[in-house]
Symmetry: C2
Subunit: 428 residues, 2 copies
């Protein structure tokens, strides 16, 4: 690793000296150059894992366009939690639980918001442009839900046009399944078009080859910090005791592979080749101002699934394909809340581990422009849409997809980090 003082010298000239000292009682304003008023102000402070060239990954917090190198900053301030930042992953910090999460957040606001801390803290700030970002935590189990009423209804209408769009269980429980934790990758990782078996509706036998219906699913993921014991049920009210924060998530999907394989045991290879997550984990604490009521549930769910007011989140999502926004799904339209997903996932006594990741399923709103998958945007491939003047249905080699997430914060809007991926051609 580059010596600490060496890195200080590289960076010290890049930080502004003009940030004001906050008046007593006023909300703190950060002295970090360009951060105040940005999507990554003091009301956000997401966590991630970064590395400088030829160095090991380190835990950091994003503020403006800088990363605070947490290990030296915490050790230098003799923070009690400093040892949690020594590994190149967030897992030890996630495992520490909500009191530690709150303590560290309060400390961050203090050191990044007080001009008097600046000279001590500034050496641990690294410009984002100089770092590589890594998968922020080691994923334990990955579960994917199916929580959007509009998405589930659209899928039903596309595949079963003559039947009731929603299946009988859908309004009674958040339908979900386990995905492949080992292929969760960080934003920016290229995604190779998968090969596999698929069968045309009019064919007698399947064929093998590259997927011809490669798709995205714009989702939100929830990251478990504090574990639970085998046999323990985690009630909806304990959501914030166990869940640390959220990531943006793209559940890449090979629709042709999925359609052939998924009866009766569910999606498998159509999903397991890659799931991309944002490099930043936004703590629930940063999303307090984004909490909203659910749109309403009818029928009322069974008691173990009941939640109070403000169980939803008002998070805006943008789906960008090759530089053009093709959809703006609203997370606030989701039928099932994350606390309900968590309670359902553990109602049978299944234990939680630090690093468990569970995702919402495709976020789709009621409007055509609010659909979070190309399957829905192109209505099963039958109604192409236009991107940069060309008709499009599913993903083509070379396509770049970026999912962007923002939400109301305490000061203004906060950014949840993006999920970016480019499609590589199938292996020869």
């Amino acid at each position: 690793m580059r010596p600490f003082l060496d890195r200080v010298c590289v960076r010290v000239g890049r930080v502004s000296t003009t940030a004001p000292t906050p008046a007593p009682g006023a909300r703190p304003t950060t002295w970090v150059d360009g951060a105040a008023g940005s999507l990554f102000d003091l009301d956000n402070l997401p966590y991630g894992v970064f590395s400088l060239p030829d160095e090991d990954p380190r835990v950091g917090v994003r503020v403006g366009d800088f990363v605070l190198d947490l290990a030296p900053a915490a050790a230098g301030d003799m923070l009690e939690a400093a040892h949690l930042f020594e590994a190149g992953t967030l897992n030890p910090f996630l495992a520490a639980g909500p009191r530690t999460w709150a303590d560290v957040r309060a400390w961050l606001v203090e050191i990044l918001g007080s001009e008097s801390e600046r000279s001590l803290v500034e050496p641990a700030l690294v410009p984002l442009a100089e770092v590589a970002l890594h998968l922020p935590f080691e994923v334990a189990d990955y579960v994917d839900f199916y929580c959007s009423l509009d998405h589930a209804s659209n899928v039903g209408r596309i595949f079963r046009p003559d039947a009731e769009p929603l299946l009988p269980n859908w309004r009674h429980l958040p339908v979900g399944y386990h995905g492949r934790a080992g292929t969760v990758v960080v934003s920016g990782t290229e995604v190779r078009r998968p090969r596999g078996q698929r069968k045309a509706p009019d064919a007698d036998t399947p064929t093998y080859g590259p997927s011809t219906r490669l798709d995205i699913e714009a989702e939100l993921g929830f990251v478990v910090g504090r574990p639970s014991a085998l046999g323990e049920q985690v009630p909806t009210g304990a959501f914030a005791e166990h869940v640390f924060g959220v990531v943006g998530l793209n559940d890449w999907s090979a629709r042709d592979v999925q359609a052939w394989e998924y009866v009766p045991l569910g999606p498998f290879l159509g999903k397991s080749f890659a799931t991309s997550v944002s490099a930043w984990v936004t703590p629930l604490a940063a999303l307090e101002h984004a909490r909203v009521d659910l749109p309403g549930q009818d029928p009322e769910p069974l008691e173990y699934l009941r939640v109070g007011d403000r169980a939803g989140y008002d998070i805006a999502v943008e789906v960008e394909l090759n530089g053009e926004v093709v959809a703006t799904p609203p997370y606030s339209s989701m039928y099932w809340s994350p606390a309900q997903m968590l309670a359902h996932m553990t109602v049978n006594g299944a234990s939680l581990r630090t690093g468990d990741l569970f995702a919402s399923g495709t976020i789709s709103g009621p409007e055509r422009g609010q659909r979070g998958s190309l399957l829905e945007l192109s209505w099963g491939g039958r109604e192409p849409f236009t991107v940069a003047g060309a008709e499009r249905t599913f993903l083509e080699d070379g396509d770049e997809v970026v999912l962007r997430y923002t939400a109301p914060g305490a000061y203004g809007r906060i950014g949840l980090g993006e999920v970016r991926g480019t499609v590589l051609p199938a292996a020869r």
Copy 2:
């Protein structure tokens, strides 16, 4: 930890001094008391993780009714791979790959089969009766397949009596799905009856409560050692390059929960509360004499799923309920081979990690007494069977299930270790 010499003194009197020295060229005979001719002779040598009271878990090899404590034995012999046994889990050894696996096995046969090694090795032997056994490896991803033609046909006939029992994709690919890695537990762990949602066929709405159709599935699990890269396909011919060995596996299932939840995304809470595996991982090398041809596949599978002769395994399974053998499923009857499961699981470029576990699905043979689940043995609960004079369908609180596995070895039959579990009543 208890000092090494202390443990020597505890154990040295329990080892026989009568084992013969092998004649040159003869197959080695172990000097370990009672091991020669047992199910755990030198042709077996499964690996596990054990602990002595108040000590940390350690890696060991079973021989007869003893465990060889691998770390001191390997270090004492200055074995190159000795450092792989320092952790309390098999994962570092699994990751080392087939050359190391073969080297260590040859070394074990030498030290346990040569009277001249006895005085050096004996201090590292621990009686099995003195140890606790632990989950032998850290499970990365867990995938469960559905490879028995008889099981899939039985399930089809039970649930869809008027339709074709096999679904259209079944003979074209090994159907599978991801399960919950975090709730894989070692044999002997008690299993609490899960609660959850289920809906009676004639009811309008679901109810919540303890599962009333708790079941077992007798399966065989395969443990991945050497990982593969994202985007890499692992062909059937590379099976033994990646898979280290096998475990017995009981895929506990709540049939009522599963029936209500599984459309369209597959089994979730009906399976995720517990999956039990044997404490011993039997290396593929010990199963060379158990290899047999598959029963035959029609139609011939797509090229990426083709295998040669002896792709199956002749492993006998006994399902014991409360001390009575209720079924003897033959693994040799399985339609899809483990090499095909592995090739299918990675055909889309999904990477393998050390500790990945994939299981066969319920093992059922063509005869009534060869069915590996109570669902089949009781034909959906409609045809009770008799255990200890009582009529039985699904599991009752207090039931103890033991799965036992044996196979032909080089010397005689080998034991794959048992999978034991007792049903606890649902939480209040």
